[in-house]
Amino acid sequence: MSIGHTLLGLLESGPRHGYDLKRVFDEKFGHDRPLHYGQVYSTMSRLLKNGLVVVDGIEAGDGPERKRYAITEAGITDVERWLTTPEKPEPYLQSTLYTKVVLALLTHRNAADVLDIQRAEHLRSMRILTDRKRKGDLADQLICDHALFHLEADLRWLELTAARLDRLREAVTR
């Protein structure tokens, strides 16, 4: 996730202080990992350097955190471009799981066990997410669903691999 673009987007509704930005970001996006203030500061100075924001005013007091930022025209254009550019789908070609399975096969360990243990772990995570989803609000549900669908995809891969284990063993031990 691009923190810079997210913060820029938050500024579109009006100028904000750095602290204000962190608070809104945490509330809306930072469920798992709240933003460090240092991250906000470094990001904002990079945006300032690129001319995507300007300092709208400085309140009396000490410390740079008192700066109020406003978005520039270039900043709005940049947010627009980010939103309309699709994310690059990431193929996990060299995933750790694949490595583990192949390694198990090469060392004549039980690869099915590797897969099944992983499978059980995946399902355990899915159970926790499902539980959380049931208790949470709509935002929780959507975020959990995203994770659930990803886990489900992994799980499907695990099942498929389990079904093709014999062929895979032939291929890697040849």
């Binding site: 059980a120 399902l123 899915m126 159970r127 997410l129 499902t130 489900e152 799980l155 079904a163």
Partner: protein
Amino acid sequence: MTAPVPGALLTAENLRKTYGPTVALDGAGLSLHPGEIVAVMGPSGSGKSTLLHCLAGIVTPDSGSITYDGHELTAMSDSRRSALRRSEFGFVFQFGQLVPELTCVENVALPLRLNGTPRKEAERTALAWMERLEVADLRGKRPGEVSGGQGQRVAVARALVTGPRVLFADEPTGALDSLNGERVMELLTEAARSSNAAVVLVTHEARVAAYSDREIVVRDGKSRDMERAV
């Protein structure tokens, strides 16, 4: 394969079942404790539905034992097993289970009526269950007039109306989209937990299985208890 688990409500061991040349079960087993939700997973054709049919006493295995509440299911007569299914078990299938000419409330009341409950009383209880599953407004409609998700909720209400100790669900969301499927699963597990019914949930979808407490995987007619695998 597995020793009988103390405190289990339903235990099956070493089940074997063939349909002609096809081996459906080859030493499968399962144990179910009161009130717990167990998912039976596996690829299609792996024998998970047959396992459910055997556990519920619909199909008699060729060999192996099934103990329900201390009684050997395979030794029971057909009529005793039918009576058991009427009073102790509930069923939800993928589709085609509601009687098309009966109204929804009549469908839900059907198991009670099969047990001899008078019509009025049966339909009153049925309506209470339909309210819990949020389909009370469909009471006068026929199954052909309701959506798939609504129909499955009616089916869940029907499965739970007798207060069964075990609910058998075979791909209950198989014909539904994920939104409707999730709603059905939420209502099903909630209702089952609140009435302390154990659930055997056959599914090939991990997201549906995630509503369970633990899962069993069936492959080539053999079962694997994943909790013990970990």
